[in-house]
Symmetry: C2
Subunit: 122 residues, 2 copies
DNA sequence: GCGTTAGGTACCAATCGGTAACTAACGAAT
DNA sequence: ATTCGTTAGTTACCGATTGGTACCTAACGC
């Protein structure tokens, strides 16, 4: 765990900033949803269970403001807006996929742990 | 992006629960801090820049309640409490390390993007 | 009594997130 | 010509969560 110049342990360094941008529930799921190519706003709302349009828009704006996502609006009616990963966003693909795969493989273990925990005498 | 039974896209499934537990700024940094072995509470506060004792305790409690971290208190004075990763927590080590490495490698790119963005006309 | 470590609590501000209602722009139906 | 439905987005209002500071306890050695 070498604490080098740019470390996630330092409060005011770019590495920590990066963690603050992506280490967020909705950001992780959104980035994962975009990892196969451009997706429309409405499709993202449908795909990502439990997200509201407002929060999705906010999440996308934040990812966009940090260079991870691009927004492309088409001059059509009704409007069509597609979001996709930038090059920087694509470099995050592997870590994000690993994380979501871990979640799929180990989510059940968390649920089971919670259940056995609540059975403790206390 | 196959939407299988346990998908991070489904609001109420174990995979999403797992994401909600770990996809959090302080959780990621804390898990990373524990990835080399047991660390005392006080050492974590020093190591993790910007975290307060209250938030660290809360973060550790949450990780503990979800089976990722164990807490070992020694009957000494002054008290000594060590936190370490469980087996489940260790299975997260690789994704977490990838994520923090990405943050170190690409944090600067985010900073630069922000700077060039703010230079835009308008 | 004082310092140590771990933690709990109280109070407060800021952020997050949900619902609902609104706009813009256009095609299609009436 | 008017109305309706569509997609994307904003705004307002509200409650819940997060996080900070400050202060308190417990247990022990000096």
């Amino acid at each position: 765990m070498s604490i080098t110049a740019g470390s996630v342990f330092l409060a005011d360094c770019p590495a920590r900033l990066a963690i603050e941008v992506i280490a967020d529930k909705w950001s992780v799921v959104t980035l994962f949803a975009l990892s196969d190519g451009p997706v429309r706003h409405g499709d993202l709302v449908t795909l990502i269970g439990g997200i509201s349009r407002k929060v999705l828009t906010h999440t996308l704006r934040r990812l966009q403001a940090n260079g991870l996502v691009t927004r492309q609006a088409f001059a059509e009616a009704p409007p069509r807006v597609e979001y996709s990963l930038t090059e920087l966003g694509l470099s995050l693909q592997e870590p994000i996929v690993m994380l979501t795969q871990w979640a799929r493989s180990n989510g059940e273990a968390i649920v089971e742990f919670r259940e056995t925990e609540s059975d403790l005498p206390g």
